[in-house]
Symmetry: C2
Subunit: 186 residues, 2 copies
Amino acid sequence: MLYPGNAKKEYHKEINYANRGMDLEALINDANKYYYINDLAIIYKKPTPITINHVEYPNNQKVITKATFKRKSTLDYVGLYQGKYLDFDTKSTTSKTSFTLNNIAKHQLEHIKKVISHGGISFLIISINNQVYLFKGEDLIYFIENEKRKSITLNYLKEKGYLIPYSFNPILNYLKVINNVYFKTK
Amino acid sequence: MLYPGNAKKEYHKEINYANRGMDLEALINDANKYYYINDLAIIYKKPTPITINHVEYPNNQKVITKATFKRKSTLDYVGLYQGKYLDFDTKSTTSKTSFTLNNIAKHQLEHIKKVISHGGISFLIISINNQVYLFKGEDLIYFIENEKRKSITLNYLKEKGYLIPYSFNPILNYLKVINNVYFKTK
């Protein structure tokens, strides 16, 4: 069966672990494919919306010959896990010590708030200094509304976020962290 | 705030109630916009995935100059309502008496099964003979696995489906039907 994302191609893309930062999206797509194949969750990257200006039909195939990208007004990933709606984004920073809030557009923050208010799960997966953290939407909102700083330090992320450790398959098994953070039984 | 779908444009599209069938998608997009603005739910149409073959940069704007459509492997709409994940499709038929199963691709049926098995809500919104019905994914699967017919008759839909009555705003207030079907308190 077809995997319902764009991951097929990206999955085979070479993953770059070089100093300038790994390809976080490729790792998340890889994990999502693993979850899908193993029937653990349905999580996929939303296609980027485009505005189509011109279409032609050579050999009876519909080909777009002019289109522009639209701003994505939500987060990159959406999914379903154990009956819960997930909506999240990946963010990479080249800084080794802090994650600047400039990385988060205003409409993305509004979307995170909306998702949480309607009972969904929303978070960021942040790659910093070759480590990857899950940072809950609730904690992000708290930070923005209460701290006067323009960036989240790595130390803050270590304290309030959740490290996603590297594993074998998938490399970034972030559902394990979601289990601990959102589904922990008492 | 930007509505996270493609509905903005489609919303202003002229709605066609002519004999050949109304524009079901436009009505659903209209309802979704209403739900979003009134903070009742977050439901949007997934962008159609494309394969980009060529991109140019006139005036520093990124313009796609060649792309083709990819098959959408899921259903058209995804959303979050009262903590539940929704995943559904709209289907229109010009027949006045039955809805043929040819309208449902195999991968769409698989997707419906997957969504249900992971605790999500999945259904079809079917427009037939100027009436609109919500047909639960569970009932669709039952029909396909147990009935030997290749189409669902209007009478069957009337019996097993749920009529979405026309109302003022939004015209197709399908969340009201979802409330009765999926959220009914005992």
